[in-house]
Symmetry: C2
Subunit: 340 residues, 2 copies
DNA sequence: TTTAGCACTCAAAAAGCGAGAGTGCTAACA
DNA sequence: TGTTAGCACTCTCGCTTTTTGAGTGCTAAA
C-alpha cells in the first residue's frame, strides 16, 4: 500500500513528535508543524486513513494518535533522514577507545558503556567469534595430584579453561607438557568434527582432554555460547513506557534469559549493516514493546560480534542508529587490526 | 536498650506477619497470635514503645505497624530461629551440581540460578579468587605478524588473555615459546610486586609481557576485578515494594554498577559465616530498600568467592539464609576438592 | 478536495463521601 | 502498677460523581 506524500509527512511528524513528547499527538499540533498550510480537519482525515492502514492507533476515542510498530517501521525504513554523530562526539568516543589497553574484553565493556551513554538506553555487546571454531593451542597444567587444568585457545582468540580429573597415579607436569605438545602438533587448525573423530582412537588422559576440547568447540559452534556484556539497563527503566511494572519485569526477563534475544543476536551476526528490529518484528512476542538496533562488527568469518542498543519503540532512531554504526566502525577497526 | 520478653514476641510477630502479608500489621492480629492471652490495647502500648525505640514505624496514623531496618536487624540477630533447608530440596540442589561438568564457570552460573530460584529473588555469585595472586604459568602465541596473545594462568586458576603488539620484525612462534618457557621458570610462584621489580631489568618483548602480567596481577589484587554472575533480577522486580518505578530503577542501578555492591562483596570475602546486610546497614544509602544475605565460599586465602541473595527488606530471611548457607557449603566442597 | 463548525466521547483530574481499620488516650479494674 | 475495655479521632482506601478539556468524527459549505 502506497502512502501519499502528505500522508508520509503526517506519519513522519507524528512519529517524531511522539518520540520527543511521549504523549499522544493531536491533529492540531501536526497541522501547525506541516510545511504546507493544512487545516487540522484535513490532518484528521489523513490520520483516520493512516489508522485504517494500521500505521497509527488510538489509545482511546478522544486521544491523539500514536504510531504502531508498523508505523515506526515505515518511518525508519523510508521517512527518516540519515544522520551522523557530531564530530565532537566521534572524537570523544575515539578517545576513550584509545585510552584502553589492547584488551578485547575491555573494548567490549567500553563499547557497551559508550553505546548506552550515547543513546541513553540499554546496550549489549557480544564477543567476536568465528563462525566456525578451529583449534589453535592447548596447555595442560597440573593443579594438584588429582586435577589438571586444560587451557584451550582457538584460532579466533577465544580462551577457555576447564579442570579435568587426573587419573591415578597422576601424570607429572613434564608428562603433561609432552602430551600437550604432541596434541598441539596433531590438532593445529582442526575443527570440532575432526577432533571428535580423533578422539575415538585415543585413550587415557588424552581421550579426556580431546573430549573436553571437542565438546567445547561443538558447544561454541551451536548454542552460540555467547559472552555478552550489558550496560545501561537502569536507563531504559527510566523511560515512561516502563514505569508500569509488568512491562519492566518482562523487559528485564527478556534481557536476562532471552531465548528471543539469543535468536535476534544470532541473526544479526550473519547480516550486514545496521539491523533494526521494532517490536520484535511480529516474530518475537516477548519483545513487543522494545526496539533493537543491531550491527555486527569484526572480520567476516574470522571473528564476528554484535553490538546492540535496546530501547522502547519510542526511541530516537536516528541517533541510536548513527551511534551503533559509528561504534561498530570503531570496533571493526580494532578487531580487524587484531585479525588483519 | 533491652526489650522485654513480650516486646520481643510482639516484634517477632510483626516482622513475620509483615513478611508474609506485605501489609501493615495491626494490634488486633498480633494480640491473637501471641501465645500468652493479651489484649490488643496492651499490644498497642507495647507497639508504641517499640516505635519510640525505632523498631517499628507507621506509614500513617491509622495504619498498622511496619518494621524498620533496625527492627529487621533485631529480629534476624536475636529473634529468628535458625531453620534448615528440607532434605528433599538439598538433594535436588546436590543433584544439579553433580550433573554439571568440572567447570567452575558452570558451577557459578548454576549457583546463581539455584539461589535465585530457591530464595525467589535475585542472586549474585563472584568467582573464587586468592587474596593475593601468584604467578603460575604463561603462554605466548603468535596470532599475526604484529600481535602476540599472552595467556596468563595464576595459581588460583584465574586465566587471563590479552594481546600485545609485537615488535618488528616479529619474533617467531619458536622464539616466543622459548621466551615463555624461560619466563615460566623465573616467575613461578612470584607475586605482583616481585614481577614488577623484575620488569625493570628486562627489555623488548620480555618487558612488554612482564608489564602486562604485573599490571593485571596488581589490578586483580586491588580493585577486585570481580567476575560476577547474576540471576533472578526479574524475580525481585515482582516484589510489591519495587512496583513503583523509582525504586526499581535505583535497585537495578545498584546491581549494575554498584560501587556499594562492590564494597559489600569485598567485606563479605573476608568475613566468616553468613553475613546479613539489611537496608545497607546505614552505611550504603543506595541500598536502603534491599537486604543482602552473603556468604563467602571456597578455601581461605587460596580461592574465596562470595554468594549473595538480594531481596527487599521484607524478605524471608530464614529461608534465604539457609539456602545461602547450604549452597555455600556445596560450593565449598567443590572448590576445596579443586584446591585441596 | 479542503475546511469550518459542532456535537460527541472519554480519560484524567478533582471532589465528595462513607466505611473501616487502627490508633491514642482515659478511666476503670485486678 | 500493669492491664484492659471503651471510645473518640484520624486517615487511607475505595467508590461514585462531576467537571474539564483535548481531540475526534461527521456534516455541510466553500
Amino acid at each position: 500500500m502506497e502512502l501519499s506524500a502528505r500522508q508520509e509527512a503526517i506519519l513522519a511528524q507524528v512519529v517524531q513528535s511522539y518520540i520527543s513528547l511521549a504523549m499522544p499527538i493531536g491533529s492540531e499540533l501536526i497541522a501547525q508543524k506541516l510545511p504546507a498550510k493544512t487545516s487540522s480537519a484535513t490532518v484528521r482525515n489523513e490520520m483516520a486513513a493512516l489508522e485504517d492502514l494500521e500505521y497509527l492507533t488510538h489509545p482511546h476515542t478522544s486521544a491523539g494518535r500514536v504510531p504502531t510498530a508498523k508505523g515506526y517501521r515505515y518511518f525508519v525504513e523510508r521517512l527518516m533522514e540519515q544522520s551522523d554523530l557530531a564530530p565532537a562526539e566521534k572524537r570523544m568516543i575515539q578517545h576513550q577507545f584509545h585510552q584502553a589497553n589492547l584488551d578485547l574484553e575491555q573494548w567490549m565493556k567500553l563499547a557497551a558503556s559508550v553505546l548506552s551513554r550515547t543513546a541513553q538506553t540499554a546496550a549489549l555487546v557480544t564477543a567476536p567469534r568465528a563462525s566456525q571454531s578451529f583449534f589453535k593451542h592447548l596447555q595442560l597444567l597440573s593443579i594438584s595430584d588429582s586435577l589438571i587444568l586444560v587451557v584451550l585457545v582457538l584460532r579466533d582468540g577465544t580462551v577457555k579453561q576447564q579442570m579435568i580429573a587426573a587419573p591415578q597415579p597422576a601424570p607429572s607436569q613434564e608428562e603433561l607438557a609432552a602430551l600437550a605438545s604432541g596434541l598441539n602438533g596433531k590438532l593445529e587448525g582442526l575443527d570440532a568434527q575432526q577432533i571428535s573423530t580423533l578422539m575415538t582412537i585415543a585413550n587415557g588422559v588424552e581421550a579426556q582432554v580431546l573430549d573436553r576440547v571437542a565438546t567445547f568447540m561443538h558447544e561454541i559452534n551451536h548454542t552460540g555460547n555467547l559472552e555478552v556484556f550489558r550496560d545501561g539497563l537502569s536507563l531504559i527503566l527510566q523511560q515512561p513506557e516502563f514505569k508500569e511494572s509488568p512491562r519492566a519485569e518482562r523487559l528485564v526477563h527478556v534481557l536476562e534469559v532471552g531465548t528471543s534475544m539469543g535468536r535476534v543476536l544470532d541473526e544479526a551476526t550473519s547480516a550486514n549493516g545496521v539491523q533494526i528490529v521494532i517490536g520484535g518484528d511480529d516474530k518475537f512476542n516477548d519483545m513487543q514493546d522494545v526496539s533493537l538496533i543491531l550491527s555486527r562488527y569484526g572480520v567476516a568469518d574470522e571473528a564476528t560480534g554484535v553490538l546492540a542498543v535496546l530501547g522502547p519503540l519510542r526511541m530516537p532512531y536516528g541517533r541510536a542508529i548513527s551511534t551503533v554504526r559509528y561504534v561498530a566502525s570503531v570496533m571493526d577497526g580494532l578487531v580487524e587490526w587484531i585479525y588483519k
